[in-house]
Amino acid sequence: MLHIKIPTRREVIEKAKAEGKKIAAVYPIHYPRELFRAFNIQPIEVWGPPKTDTKKANAHLQSYICSVVQSGLAFYLEGGINVADIIVVPHSCDSLQGLGSIYKDFIKPKQELITIYLPREKNRENVEFLSKELKRIYKQLAEFTHFEPDREKLLEEIKKEEEIDVLVAKFYKSRENLPLSSREFYTILRAREYLPVELFKNILNYALLHSSSGKLKKTGIVISGLLPEPMEILDVIDEMDGFVALDDMACCMRRVYGEGSADDPFERMAERIVNSTPDPTKGSSVDERADFLKSLIDISGAKGVVFYNVKFCEPEYFYHPLLKDKLNESGIKSIVIETDINEPISQQTITRIKAFIEMLKEESRWA
């Protein structure tokens, strides 16, 4: 247990406003944080938030749209995004595509609306397309803020984010040596969704000071999905003497980007996103995803994979059967847990996770 004081979203927003920064409310998943920072804009990501009353969203979205998008809209309708000057909707899936379009055509928020189209496969053409798309957004931001950050400013912000990505990777690598519960680990990691660069860097560095040579003697789990919500699931894992060793989560690992190689800032930002780890919303191949999960298991020594699936999230659903098979062929057990970020986890879900960890422990006892 570490005593780290992480500022809340509200505190960050108030401080940013006081400093004359603009606020961007950003929906999942991929976007270049550095581009916004170069405009002196503080991105605050909207992953739900969980436990939102979504009744106001029910006037716009059918019940078969996932809880992340439902909450995201309900939060806006309840006034939760009023503080923002800009709303950013990346094109991550059909539901977010729809949300962006409903905002634009029907809800018409007072905020500046920015949509980002993200290309799919890793190749040169896609880097080129995305860098043009980012240039377009640059122009939109420049018009909106009456400010045009130059090449140096852009590169400076890119380098800062690249450094943070390296630091996050180090934080992951030290997981076993950190005296943190899974909930604490992810609370720190996910603070990146709204903290300014410097502050987040300090928190990570402080946490890393506490890494010791002693390793956690617990059953490691890899979690995969959109986001680790409801967080009670992490508690259940810890309660069973398990811990989350690594993840393949949209909000976390899937956005730890590699360093870019281009000198042109737009190309460099595009490279980082296009070359990210396998991601179902990009339509990565099943093999790429399976190999990635296997590598997470190898690196961390984890015993199994828990797929955390937000109900109605189609991109994730399609991969589960084949991923389960491929992991199984390599002797890796996995389980799919369906979640709704607005509902408490059911007793049955708790039982499933517990039984899964019992099974993994039994396995290693026999091994």
Binding site: E338, Q347, T351, K354, A355, E358, M359
Partner: protein
């Protein structure tokens, strides 16, 4: 007075099951009661009564089931592990264990050595569980026990397409109001339930034999239809309801 080495308590959503075993794992007593909302008090009074006939002073207590959090026990283990253990020790065989309970179904793959290889449970909705039949029985004012008999003796079958328990209920009513025979509809309802269970079994990869536990295993229509759908005669213990508690008791014996 016989010494009880270990006691397994399965506090399910509808019934409370308690099993005591001796050192060799032989069952000394079994108790099945409707679950009381205050399951902790109910368990305590049962244990107190047991003291009259058994030596339970040094018994290990292992709790499982939804109510297990409320019960004082030496160990708490999930129903999955407990059912697998109970079924495996009862039949001395690996295979596919299916537990059809009041509010959820579990399908567990057990290895030759008795390990849990994989398992799945039904999703949130109650279709395919015991509750699904019970609700309809209640709605139609037919005793639950009679449902199986009606289904077994039916010469026809109506297709129920809704998987949702709520929709299925309105579908049942509309079939009846259209003049379909009651037993045909009830048979259709059993079929819908069994289909849900078989699809779970296939989802995990069926590995015979099929071993049933849980209260619904007593429903002859369900058993017969499972056999029809899978082409495999299910094995059923004499007392299918206690398999979880039995497994829990056995797990109390191991270190």
């Amino acid at each position: 007075m016989e010494t009880v080495k270990s006691i397994g308590i399965d506090a399910g959503s509808t019934t409370l099951k308690i099993v005591g075993v001796n050192e060799e794992g032989k069952i000394l007593f079994t108790i099945v009661e409707d679950a009381d909302p205050k399951v902790e008090e109910q368990t305590e009074s049962i244990l107190n009564k047991l003291k009259e006939n058994y030596d339970i002073e040094s018994s290990k207590i292992v709790a499982t089931g939804y109510g297990s959090n409320l019960i004082k026990a030496d160990k708490k283990i999930t129903e999955i592990t407990c059912h697998a253990k109970g079924i495996y020790e009862h039949f001395k065989s690996g295979g596919t264990a299916v537990d059809i309970g009041g509010q959820d179904n579990k399908v567990i793959l057990i290895s030759k050595g008795g390990k849990v290889i994989d398992f799945i449970m039904n999703d949130k909705c109650a279709s395919g569980t015991g509750r699904f039949l019970e609700n309809t029985a209640w709605r139609l004012k037919i005793p639950t026990e009679k449902m199986a008999e009606l289904a077994l003796n039916s010469d026809g079958e109506v297709k129920i397409s809704s998987t949702c328990a709520v929709f299925a209920e309105s579908e049942v009513i509309s079939h009846l109001s259209r003049g379909e025979k009651l037993e045909h509809v009830i048979k259709g309802l059993h079929r819908a339930m069994v289909k849900r269970i078989t699809s779970m079994i296939y989802a995990i990869g069926f590995n015979p034999p099929l071993m049933l536990s849980g209260g619904v295993a007593k429903n002859k229509a369900v058993v017969k239809m499972l056999e029809e759908e899978l082409g495999e005669k299910p094995l059923i213990p004499e007392n299918p309801q206690i398999m979880g508690a039995f497994g829990a008791a056995l797990l109390g014996l191991s270190k």
